[in-house]
């Protein structure tokens, strides 16, 4: 009935309060689910809460975000990325430098390094899209070409660096896994 009538029923303050409540409930449930090593509930809840947020947003009669918010959001996002990247790089060096003291620091440093790389890569791709690609006449062809190139490079990298084609130690003998381009290791296989 509500959807059919298409009447907006929420004010922006009600929407903000409902969103805050939803985030709090979601955070509590997700953190508890992770503690109990249940990863299905957080994924399911994230999907459901996203749908609820979209629905609630459509019920708001006022403008939630306008051009000033988008401009501010862009600046805030850029600054956030810069701050995070610097902090992550500094902590990465610290944790990686301390890996001899505690080996547990190494994965922390690597996670920080890779997350920074992914964040900057994503930012560059999205920036390039909005700055150039979106304004192109043949953006679909260009996007499809770049995506195909990216997938091909990802597959090639996986093939080259994943260690798929390698020698594995099995029953005291070096056994080829895939098609390794190099000879079996000289070390004794135990």
């Amino acid at each position: 009935m509500l959807i059919k009538s298409n009447k907006k029923i929420m004010t922006i303050k009600q929407y903000q309060a409902a969103r805050l409540a939803l985030i709090i409930v979601l955070s509590i449930i997700v953190s508890q689910a992770i503690i109990f090593k249940n990863y299905i509930i957080p994924i399911f809840l994230l999907i459901v809460s996203s749908l609820i947020m979209i629905y609630m947003r459509r019920q708001v009669k006022e403008v939630i975000a306008d051009e000033r918010d988008y401009a501010t959001g862009g600046k805030a996002a850029l600054l956030t990325i810069q701050i995070y990247s610097w902090a992550a790089v500094i902590f990465m060096f610290i944790t990686y430098g301390l890996r001899d003291i505690n080996p547990a620091y190494e994965p922390i440093g690597l996670t920080l390094a890779f997350s920074t790389c992914i964040l900057m890569l994503l930012y560059s791709v999205i920036f390039h899209y909005y700055n150039k690609v979106k304004l192109m006449d043949k953006k679909f062809i260009y996007t499809a070409f770049v995506l195909a190139l990216f997938i091909a490079m990802a597959i090639a990298s996986l093939r080259l660096f994943s260690g798929e084609d390698n020698w594995i130690c099995k029953d005291g003998q070096w056994t080829p896994h895939g098609h390794p381009s190099f000879s079996a290791p000289a070390a004794v296989c135990k």
Binding site: E62, V63, A65, D66, E67, R68, D69
Partner: protein
């Protein structure tokens, strides 16, 4: 023209705060927003805004 900030914001599709900042000269609108506001007042952009 007798119009509230809220009404003007709804007419041009922005938040009331944006109208407040525009009035205070703390925000430069996009050309589209400037045109829409001028349209509401049935005036030219340069009559509503001074750059």
């Amino acid at each position: 023209m007798n119009i509230t900030q809220e009404n003007l914001a709804n007419l041009v599709g922005v938040r009331r705060e944006t109208i407040v900042f525009l009035e205070q000269g703390k925000y430069n609108p996009s050309l589209l927003l400037a045109r829409n506001i001028a349209k509401v007042f049935k005036k030219k952009i340069e009559e509503v805004f001074s750059f």
